[in-house]
């Protein structure tokens, strides 16, 4: 796919890091769905995602993160987990960028209620770094 060849250890390392990130993100959100639903709603995605569907998103997203995180860490279908991770992070990054562009300022709830990270350039940079980990983790084994 045009991506450079990569040492298996680096890729495996990236997969474990990505998996841990998703586990850390998923667990607090699963523990408090209601709080996460509020966070999702803060992004005001109604032009793209129907408002009625935001709760549905809030209840399923953390579990998808959890399963993908487990796949990445255990090494059962790690590449599938890595692709899910990368696609989701790309969407999250677009969400953060869109919120930023519209001047919305709120706590993103990305890692649950406890993390008080506010939507901003720092959050965007953080997301891009996590996205890079996902890309490395998804590189095809050869």
């Amino acid at each position: 796919m045009g991506l450079p060849a990569i040492h298996p250890t680096v890729r495996r390392g990236a997969q474990i890091v990505a998996g841990l990130i998703f586990l850390a993100a998923a667990l607090p959100k699963i523990a408090d769905v209601a709080a996460f639903a509020g966070s999702v709603h803060n992004f005001h995605m109604e032009p793209v995602v129907p408002v009625a569907a935001t709760n549905l998103l809030a209840m399923t997203l953390p579990w998808i993160e959890l399963i993908a995180g487990l796949a990445l860490i255990t090494g059962v279908r790690p590449r599938a987990g890595a692709v899910v991770y990368t696609v989701l992070l790309a969407l999250f990054t677009i969400g953060v960028a869109a919120a930023l562009a519209r001047g919305l300022s709120f706590e993103c709830g990305c890692f649950g209620k406890a993390s008080a990270a506010t939507i901003g350039v720092k959050k965007l940079a953080e997301n891009l770094a996590m996205l890079a980990v996902g890309v490395i983790a998804s590189i095809e084994r050869r």
């Binding site: 209601a34 399923t60 959890l66």
Partner: protein, 217 residues
């Protein structure tokens, strides 16, 4: 090395199958969790469909903000969204609105009755440009943000005993809902929110006006 890092070859359909499995399993577990939570207690978990915030939440927000507290004595059950049956197509033709402790939703047919009878004061919650481009005749423009930046204006707003109908650009119309709550907090007791808003009004072919808010309004 593969023995310890079982990284099997995941390409083509094998990769896709894995991805579909992760997403399906995750979604199923998420829905299952919410089913279990809501079986335990109807207020646990999250509603299947997102709904605008309730009065209680607004009250909590107002308590640490500058807005006055909502009407002290609720005349109607605050958990009932539509005690007057205003939403029902067959609602009675009466246009009397009792004092309400929170904004009530109102549907197009009823809005039109109020409009024809000049029995309500209309507030357009959209921003000034949208308002100038077209609004319900007689509506006053109070952009949603003013509700928080200029509460004094809401308190000074005199509906002359008439119900206030707030509308905006349709959809979920959070702008008008939050403005509705702000009006209640500012001491107005007959606040109705018309969720269909501008798009529904124009689609119905009802009268429109253009230009900025008349001076003194």
């Amino acid at each position: 090395m593969d023995r310890w890092w079982p990284d099997g070859t995941e390409t083509g359909s094998r990769l896709w199958l894995g991805i579909v499995a992760i997403v399906t399993l995750g979604s199923a577990l998420g829905v299952a969790q919410n089913v279990m939570l809501r079986m335990g207690s109807p207020n646990a978990g999250v509603a299947w469909k997102y709904e605008p915030p309730k009065l209680e939440e607004f009250g909590a927000a107002a308590a640490d903000g500058h807005a006055a507290s909502p009407a002290a004595t609720p005349v109607v059950d605050p958990t009932n969204n539509d005690p007057l049956g205003l939403g029902a197509a067959t609602a009675s033709s009466g246009l009397d609105v009792p004092d309400l402790a929170r904004p009530m939703q109102v549907q197009l047919s009823k809005v039109k009755e109020f409009f024809d009878a000049k029995a309500a004061t209309f507030i357009d919650a959209r921003d000034a440009e949208e308002y100038a481009a077209g609004h319900i005749p007689g509506a006053v423009n109070v952009p949603g943000e003013q509700a928080t930046t200029d509460p004094a204006r809401l308190e000074a707003f005199d509906p002359q005993g008439k119900p206030i109908i707030v509308y905006c650009g349709g959809g979920t119309c959070e702008l008008s809902m939050s403005l509705g709550f702000a009006l209640v907090a500012a001491g107005k007791h007959k606040v109705l929110v018309y969720m269909g808003g501008w798009p529904e009004w124009t689609t119905a072919g009802y009268p429109v006006a253009t230009g900025p808010t008349p001076a003194g309004a």
